[in-house]
Amino acid sequence: MREPKGWVPKLLIGIAVLYLAVLILLPVLAIFQGAFAQGAAVFFESLNDPQVIAAFWLSIQLAIAAVVINTIFGTTVAWVLVRQEFFGRAFFNALVDLPFVVSPVITGYMVILLFGRQGWFAPLVKATDTQIAFAVPGMLLVTVFVSLPFVIREVMPVLREIGHEPEQAAHTLGASSWRTFVRVTMPGIRWGLLYGISLTLARALGEFGGVLVAGGAVTGKTETATLYIFAALDERQYISAYAVAVVLALFSFTVLIGMEILRKRTEITQ
């Protein structure tokens, strides 16, 4: 790294700063300005609405459930993909990235095709008298799907870095598999895991298109924070929509700052 000397480096830095300022910073500032346009009192008042609180509560529940599921299964998947060799490993490894590029709308649509009235599992759904499509369970499936890659993708490189020798040593010394996992594997991957969990949480809370299709956005029943924003825009309640958006954005920034701290920490321990 060096000091920028001459006009070319300075021009390059100028372009990069200007581009990011216009593309990212300006829109972020605009929404804060929009939310507080009629003062802080109106901002807080629009948040203190039973419908808004219910929407946030559903978002939080879905996000936490998705984090728990993807932490447990994600760690298992990461471990199996790194430590074991088997036919089809490369295929499953590539498959993990799929949710990154599948449109959320299609994700929601998948739930309908599987659990809707004419879905593959319609008889099963009918027999057990549960509702999955156009209900919260379907939204949970979507949330788990869209946030599936994060824990796996953050834990895998860390596992690879550690190598299998520490686990092997523990096992040779007589530790059970569970004990080896808790005492040897877990401490090694914890920062990577935490990083993955932060990303999972942020992605899950922000999900919109998938839960819109799979849940149907019924006020008070299947309305998350993002779906509330969408509905409020439709009803021209702009301040309310901006206020909820600002809260979601603030949460995203908190996660980002937390991750930055985590990254510094992992760099130090390495």
Partner: protein, 280 residues
């Protein structure tokens, strides 16, 4: 890496290993493969011809075309600006750099619906900037392709930067210095020394951002709305078909989008694995 010791260890306690593998593969299959199979089989239930019939309707074609060209324009801009931002961040020291670096991750963390809302607040016809552009220059941003491109630029900005950055960090400054000492201009140095080394990462990042853009929904539905033949992208088209209970139309477009996403992911995977092998 996978030497004899792994094989031996797997052989010494097969049940634990096998059950873990079973849990992992069943989870991935149930969560990813099963839903995928449902969409693909529904989309292909009328054969390739049926699929073509559903996808060749004017509204479907217009939506697909709009998605493809806006994503292509975004990818072009994003690739140039992403490489530039990565280069500046890796090579130079300047005030505010840490802030700039943190700003790059913002699109990953912010819900895309909120992104769309931000752009409407900034560029909507009633705002200062939007009003100016509309009245003075006759440029519509909201409910028009420029808004779609802006939204795509925002949500996919990190892809190129974050794939190029680590590769650039690995490349020694010495190589660039050597080229410069031998009389190469900074542009020649960039083109002849840096670009060949960066190419796989740049291409991977560009393809991923393109794939991501094809499926983008949350920001676009707010920025562009849902007007068939005018501002309706492929993902929004899928939603409109679901809402009007046209399952065939929704499935056909879904299959086309999935096929493109799949291809891009596997191409990127191929590029990255070839690169790893070369480095090993």
């Amino acid at each position: 890496m996978f030497d004899a010791s792994i094989k031996k260890r797997q052989a010494s306690r097969p049940w634990g290993q096998w059950s873990l593998r079973a849990v992992a593969l069943i989870y991935l299959s149930a969560m990813l493969l099963l839903p995928l199979a449902a969409v693909v089989s529904d989309g292909l239930s009328g054969g390739i011809q049926g699929l073509w019939q559903d996808i060749s309707r004017p509204a479907a074609m217009a939506a697909l075309r709009l998605s493809l060209w806006t994503a292509a324009v975004m990818t072009g801009i994003n690739t140039v600006m992403g490489v530039l931002a990565a280069y500046v961040l890796v090579r130079y020291r300047f005030p505010g750099k840490a802030f700039l670096n943190a700003l790059i991750d913002v699109p990953f963390a912010i819900p895309t619906l909120v992104t769309g809302l931000m752009l409407v607040v900034l560029y909507g016809p009633q705002t200062a900037i939007g009003g100016f552009l509309d009245r003075r220059l006759g440029i519509d941003i909201i409910f028009a392709p420029p808004g779609i491109i802006l939204a795509l630029l925002f949500v996919s900005f990190p892809f190129v930067v974050r794939t190029v950055q680590p590769v650039l960090t690995e490349i020694d400054l010495d190589q660039e210095d050597a080229a410069a000492t031998l009389g190469a201009s900074s542009w020649t140095t960039f083109r002849r020394v840096l670009l060949p080394a960066l190419a796989p990462a740049v291409i991977s990042g560009a393809l991923l951002s393109f794939a991501r853009a094809l499926g983008e929904f949350g920001s676009i539905i707010v920025v562009a709305g849902n007007f068939p033949l005018r501002s309706q992208t492929a993902a929004v088209y899928v939603l409109s078909q679901i809402e009007s209970d046209n399952q065939r139309g929704a499935s056909a477009m879904s299959v086309v989008l999935l096929a493109m996403a799949f291809t891009l992911v596997f191409v990127v995977d191929f590029i990255q694995r070839r690169q790893e092998r070369r480095n090993a």
